[in-house]
Symmetry: C2
Subunit: 189 residues, 2 copies
């Protein structure tokens, strides 16, 4: 069973039958380091699942890249506003390392709904879960200092700090690279 299937099974609790139907629509895709899964302004007509590697989602604001999220193994990558509402994409989605993805295009995605009865329900639950995660993230910015946000992320996933350029983590945490560097030093004691 692939990581994708494990993920879907664990998360959604679908039958093995539905599981194989769903996963059969996903096709393996590899990205080389620095390749783009999606570029701002295009239409996002596919959904990716990260099997291996690291992917960054960012947007250019003025002359600065703002990193919204770093996806590692087990995460989906997509521009939801584009995928669901057929608007132009807001995010650049770029491989930070060589990556293996499972990707489904929009046409196949819509097919799932015709084959798996509960699909729209599962979609709803998944997006609702993502929503609550984002709610928490907003709250960290309303109630925590840069130092607290750094410590939280570091405790949640230390490995990330070895695998991802720190400037991107700094941006994702809402601070400058210099501040992140100093907080690291401080936390290391």
């Amino acid at each position: 069973m692939s990581e994708l299937e494990k993920y879907i099974k664990t998360y959604f609790g679908v039958s093995n039958d539905d599981l194989s139907k769903i996963s059969s629509y996903f096709k393996p895709v590899t990205l080389k380091k620095n390749d783009y899964f999606l570029k701002e302004g295009r239409y996002c007509d596919k959904l990716g699942f990260v099997q291996r590697g690291i992917i960054r989602e960012y947007v250019l604001i003025g002359d600065k890249e703002v990193t919204k999220w770093i996806s590692t193994s087990g995460y989906f990558v997509v521009d939801l506003s584009s995928f669901v509402f057929h608007q132009t994409a807001r995010w650049n989605i770029q491989a930070l390392t060589d990556c293996e993805l499972y990707v489904i295009d929009q046409k196949d995605y819509q097919q799932i709904g015709k084959v798996v009865t509960r699909w729209t329900e599962l979609e709803k639950l998944f997006i609702a879960k993502c929503f609550t995660v984002l709610e928490d993230r907003v709250l960290t910015h309303l109630s925590m200092t840069a130092e607290e946000r750094y410590n939280q992320l570091f405790n949640f996933n230390k490995e990330l700090f070895n695998q991802v350029p720190l400037q991107y983590l700094a941006s994702m945490l809402g601070m400058t690279p210099e501040t992140l560097s100093r907080l690291r030093k401080k936390a290391a004691g």
Copy 2:
């Protein structure tokens, strides 16, 4: 046609038939100023639509109230993680003024799905829309200063600053009341 029906119609583009089915499940409820629609730790078994009045969603972190959102006419109020996943609620949802809501309880909510074919699809679209709004909100904290966040909100909804205690707006914007006060003075020039 009520505000609720207008909202549903505008937003989801359902037929008049479906619209009346959906709205018939919502019941008018009034809240007095300071009444709670929901308290942290309880289960959120209802969804509310704000017809009139102002409602604050906040959470107690340590000894501080952190205001996540202020809902005015046209907004839904709910603790999504509780309503969808049947977990204990994370938010306190309290009326800042006397309010008129349209409220649907969970049992009736589930009935809609049996009566309106596209219901789960509509739910999905609605939650997806909420998700993209939250994405933007996260981005404001990654890329904007307190001053810029204040100006953005003020330009978006000046009225709010006359209707809502400023301390709550400050919290929602991720700054102290003192900072908000100074930014107001500065912007007024």
